[in-house]
Assembly symmetry: C2
Homo-oligomer: 329 residues x 2
Amino acid sequence: MTGLAVSLADIEAAAERIRSVAIETPLVESPALNKRLGLRVLLKLETLQRVGAFKFRGAYNRLVQLSDEEKKRGVVAFSSGNHAQGVALAAKLLGIPALIVMPADAPKVKADATAGYGAEVKFYDRLTESREKIAAAIAEERGAVVVPAFDDPHIIAGQGTAGLELVRQAEARGAKLDIVMTPCSGGGLLAGVATAVKALSPDTRLIGAEPEGYDDTKRSLVAGVRTPMTPTHRTLCDALETPCPGELTFPILQATVSDVAVVTDAEVAEAVRYAATVLKLVVEPGGSAGLAALLAGKVDTRGAGALGLVLSGGNIDPEQFAKILRREL
Amino acid sequence: MTGLAVSLADIEAAAERIRSVAIETPLVESPALNKRLGLRVLLKLETLQRVGAFKFRGAYNRLVQLSDEEKKRGVVAFSSGNHAQGVALAAKLLGIPALIVMPADAPKVKADATAGYGAEVKFYDRLTESREKIAAAIAEERGAVVVPAFDDPHIIAGQGTAGLELVRQAEARGAKLDIVMTPCSGGGLLAGVATAVKALSPDTRLIGAEPEGYDDTKRSLVAGVRTPMTPTHRTLCDALETPCPGELTFPILQATVSDVAVVTDAEVAEAVRYAATVLKLVVEPGGSAGLAALLAGKVDTRGAGALGLVLSGGNIDPEQFAKILRREL
């Protein structure tokens, strides 16, 4: 894997850095889900991570490595919500000033939580403004360090610690993971987890899950080159709306990922309901993308005995959650 | 503790019997909750137990000990929902015919799940009929064994396995439990957990939580004798509507329990919302009674460093859950 941005060693180093602050989230099984799908599904509950999503791992791994000088100048990040919260909390814990650039239509719970952690929040119009340009301008103005949501080796390595835990926890339960699945947006989680998993368990198949209309990673993998798309509509999966895989994440995905399942909003809503009513877990739409693919029969699990599934976040707006529970969505 | 119905040895034996079928549920911490309450709160997630509540433990421990003759004759149980599901699943796994007597107004999700496990369900009118009489009549008719929801040593011992796990899991995380809390209805969970906890950690304080209007355990402990009450209204906590502590459970509670907190429906709804939005967990109203008491400041935690809190079940009707999320309840 020469030339790829992240190695197992980077992920192990990240695990050390975040050990005292991040949660080693539980790995659980549901007999009901296992029975329905015909194999052991080991659920990695990143919904129980600090800030309610895996993003805290990468954010902390990145911020803790800033020099004292950089820490003083502060950080700026752009995010639809979970990376925002991850950076905001990490910055708070490390005493670093943080400014988060968020779409004006980001879920209110995510915006409020971000501000609640003490970060400064600047909203922008998703359709007419470029978040990257805004963040870069602010960074220049303040000398702040930009913290990308996925295209950074320390961010990817941080997310990969979830994969490290997953493999070890599965082993402890006597399960050999034939498949590992995570949702996919810019590809940070999938790339990090895939790096860890492939290094420890080369025969394990890695599968991503994207929403319909935002299946840029799938198309890019098929095309063999990063292929941005222009979204024509929104998706329930507010956390998975990145329209192009990352520069650093894509080569990792090319080297490690077998397939990407594409799920409809209806399938995602069904997964959110299933998680709540059967698994007793609150999972946000984007966080349930992998589960949606499995429940919809979109993953070839023939011959697989055990599958590791990352439920990547639980930051769902209560109003939206209520609508989904009532089948209004 | 001479004369009490259940000992630590009974609970350890129960743990062996249920090991291959029950889930060793996770113990998790939420930094947000710890910060809010000012101590470590170790959450025992019985929401993730089979059938979505701790009841499976006691039901299986009881049923697996039936003689072959008894198994053929089948079992009958009366329950508002979680014990019903526990018995229905245990009976299914053991090939035992089961009839469950449920209130006609039991949450639909619980009734459906019970029938879904293959049990026969008979509904009765909570206000005009006596469930005990109905169950006894059926038992006589069929020669079936009655499986009480709490007043049985094997049932109490089964529930106690959650306490055994709690203490060991807390130890493994370097936490000495100053307090352990569980919701309380007939007292099976609290009595079983208290027996295990007090045997392993005599200085730990045991605290129960009951809904307003159904605080029969608290009143009984104060009076020094079992004191049934006549409920004047319903509570959100459909799982905690037993109006009198059990004959077997009460002496155990007298010997082990320090206090019982009493919570309003509003406090319970707040706890259900908190569990969903902050903890990312689906907890039913009765299952959240302990959390409700803590969030409402009704538990004296001064001087306590760590508290073990059993979240006893997650079987909440989606419609009711949606209402609570929307603050309509």
